[in-house]
């Protein structure tokens, strides 16, 4: 079964989880399309300061304008780029590091396993947001650094899942059979264990992407991601927050709802796939 089938099959069949998946995929796709076509969709320049400050949502400014007179709708559209960019780099990094290390650790066992597990567990035991903040502060505010900080926090999640799966797969007869016919160790890992681990990685991926989005938003809320005036959901949320009491709700509301929707979208895809995978084994 190809990896993509784990998404396509549940979409085709009328089984529990289909609604979740449909909702999740449509939200995520919408945001991705927004990010790709931002220059064409957005009605205004997102960084253009205007005289029309705190304008409420109207046909002219769909989501109103902020304290600097920037169009909130345009900022939302352009902001999707930053958040997706950061999260994509972060998850790619953590998969690239966590999955091979997990495979190695689970397959080799012994001292390597003990050392790696100890390191990963100590990272895991930190509160993730605080750890990410510390790393982001040390590295300095920039989208790539934010991505590295987030990646660092999620490596142990992949590592632990992959290691656990590898441990159980390693004792499966077909892995032993592979060794009995003289397959090299790293080929056994790559060809026999890795493909059987990937569905799990997919679930962890979709679930941790949701988490990573919240972490990214959290970091940029604290001003640790992008520098103004770059449009960014987390940052815009913070800018809008003091004006809530004045009744200018649209400044914080729209970035907030977008962060929530995107995180939820990924979480639902993950949940649906997870449900399907465990349904299959039940």
């Amino acid at each position: 079964m190809r990896l993509i089938d784990y998404i396509i099959n549940p979409l085709r069949e009328r089984k529990p989880g289909r609604g979740l998946l449909l909702f999740g995929i449509s939200v995520v796709l919408t945001v991705i399309i927004m990010a790709i076509f931002a220059p064409w969709i957005s009605p205004y320049n997102p960084t253009q300061i205007g005289a029309d400050v705190f304008a409420p949502p109207s046909s002219k400014h769909l989501m109103g304008t902020n304290n600097l007179g920037q169009d909130v709708f345009s900022r939302i559209i352009w902001g999707s780029r930053i958040i997706l960019y950061v999260v994509a780099i972060a998850t790619t990094l953590s998969i690239l590091v966590g999955v091979p290390l997990g495979l190695l650790s689970g397959y080799r066992g012994g001292k390597v396993d003990r050392a790696l597990s100890m390191i990963m567990d100590s990272i895991y035991s930190f509160p993730s947001l605080i750890l990410a903040i510390v790393i982001a502060v040390v590295l300095g505010p920039s989208p790539v650094n934010t991505a590295i900080a987030i990646a660092f926090v999620y490596v142990p999640t992949y590592f632990r899942m992959v290691r656990g799966q590898t441990l159980s797969l390693k004792n499966q007869l077909f892995v032993e059979a592979a060794r009995a016919i003289g397959v090299k160790d790293w080929e056994t890992m790559r060809k026999y264990i890795l493909p059987n681990v990937l569905p799990t990685v997919l679930v962890v991926f979709t679930l941790s992407v949701a988490d990573a989005i919240l972490t990214e938003a959290g970091l940029s809320f604290l001003g640790l991601s992008v520098t103004p005036p770059t449009p960014d959901w987390g940052y815009d949320l913070r800018v809008g927050q003091p004006f809530l009491l004045d009744g200018y709700w649209w400044l914080a509301f729209f970035p907030g709802i977008m962060i929530m929707l995107l995180a939820m979208g990924f979480a639902m895809i993950g949940e649906a796939i997870n449900e399907r995978l465990s349904l299959g084994t039940r």
Partner: protein
């Protein structure tokens, strides 16, 4: 001598203690012979089979002994050397054909891999894989099937086809027919017999002594992690010397005879703390206090090619 195992011991280091899975095992396998290991569950017969491949699953560890394959000690061989022998000169098929093939890859893919890891060209491997499928009586189009599309017997035949790829000198078959019905079992045995006729030594593991008798040249009987008796089929069947072997043979149900199956009373011992002396003494009707429960019987040759570990071999006939 193709395979010589000397004083092999395998322990499992589990959380609840050290399980002495196999202790002090010595035997040999000749070129082109069929040797069958029998014993009940937990007697260590699979453990020894895995140890011969140097493939003891964790938490097991080979704690002592030598496994000489063509004179080379497999337990001391560097990984790469060992890898080159596995699959080519000696290979193994497993009990459960449901899980011994990778569920995510086609049968053909796995067969081809078995050959390419030993340097065969891919095109050549593909051609040969189809040929091998025919030899185990599977249509060549099964090449593109996934394991779940095949029945248990078909899968086991795929495993055997993989094992046949290089005409290995030794095939270890760890209860290959246990999960299959009798008809399929017979066809698998036929295929193995064909391999034997082409010169492969068959190292067969089973708990079914009647199956052992059918095709083997020699039989090795294990009990509670110990080798208790080794001999030719005739020696074992006509003239068993160990009380356990005798009991095993008598426990085989006979369709035409009246009466109940004669089971062996009691249970095999806990191998975390095996009984002192002879491990069978607690269940042995001939055991003598003061000897059998204290002194471990030596595994010795009592007649030509007939080894037994018992203080009173064949005592019931005297």
């Amino acid at each position: 001598m193709l395979l010589e195992v000397k004083n092999l011991s395998v322990y499992y280091y589990t959380l609840s203690g050290v399980v002495r899975g196999a202790e002090g095992i010595s035997f040999s396998v000749r070129e082109g012979e069929w040797i069958t290991f029998v014993g009940e569950s937990g007697s260590g017969k699979s453990t020894v089979a895995h140890a011969v491949m140097n493939l003891v699953p964790s938490p097991g560890r080979i704690v002592s002994g030598e496994v000489l394959f063509n004179g080379r000690n497999l337990l001391k061989l560097p990984g790469e050397e060992l890898r080159k022998i596995r699959g080519k000169e000696m290979t193994m098929i497993f009990q459960d054909p449901m899980t011994s093939l990778d569920p995510l890859r086609t049968v053909g893919d796995q067969m081809v891999e078995a050959m390419t890891v030993h340097g065969v060209e891919e095109a050549e491997a593909k051609r040969k894989a189809k040929e091998l499928l025919e030899r185990v009586n599977l249509p060549g189009d099964r090449f593109n099937y996934y394991p779940h599309q095949l029945s248990g017997g078909q899968r086991q035949r795929v495993s055997i086809a993989i094992a046949m790829a290089f005409r290995p000198k030794l095939l270890i078959a760890d209860e290959p027919t246990t999960a299959l019905d009798v008809i399929v079992q017979d066809s698998i045995m036929d295929i193995l017999n064909g391999m034997k006729e082409e010169g492969t030594s068959i190292y067969f593991v089973t708990h079914d002594i009647s199956l052992a008798v059918e095709r083997s040249d020699r039989i090795a009987v294990m009990y509670a992690g110990k080798l208790v008796e080794v001999g030719t089929v005739d020696q074992i069947v006509e003239n068993p010397l160990h009380p356990y072997t005798k009991a095993l043979i008598e426990a085989v149900p006979d369709l035409w005879k009246e009466g109940k199956v004669r089971a062996i009373p009691g249970y095999p011992p806990d191998l975390r703390s095996p009984p002192s002396g002879c491990r069978f003494h607690l269940r042995c009707p001939y055991a003598e206090a003061g000897l059998c429960n204290i002194e471990e019987p030596e595994f010795r040759e009592v007649e030509k090619g007939h080894f037994v570990a018992c203080h009173f071999p064949g005592v019931w006939r005297k």
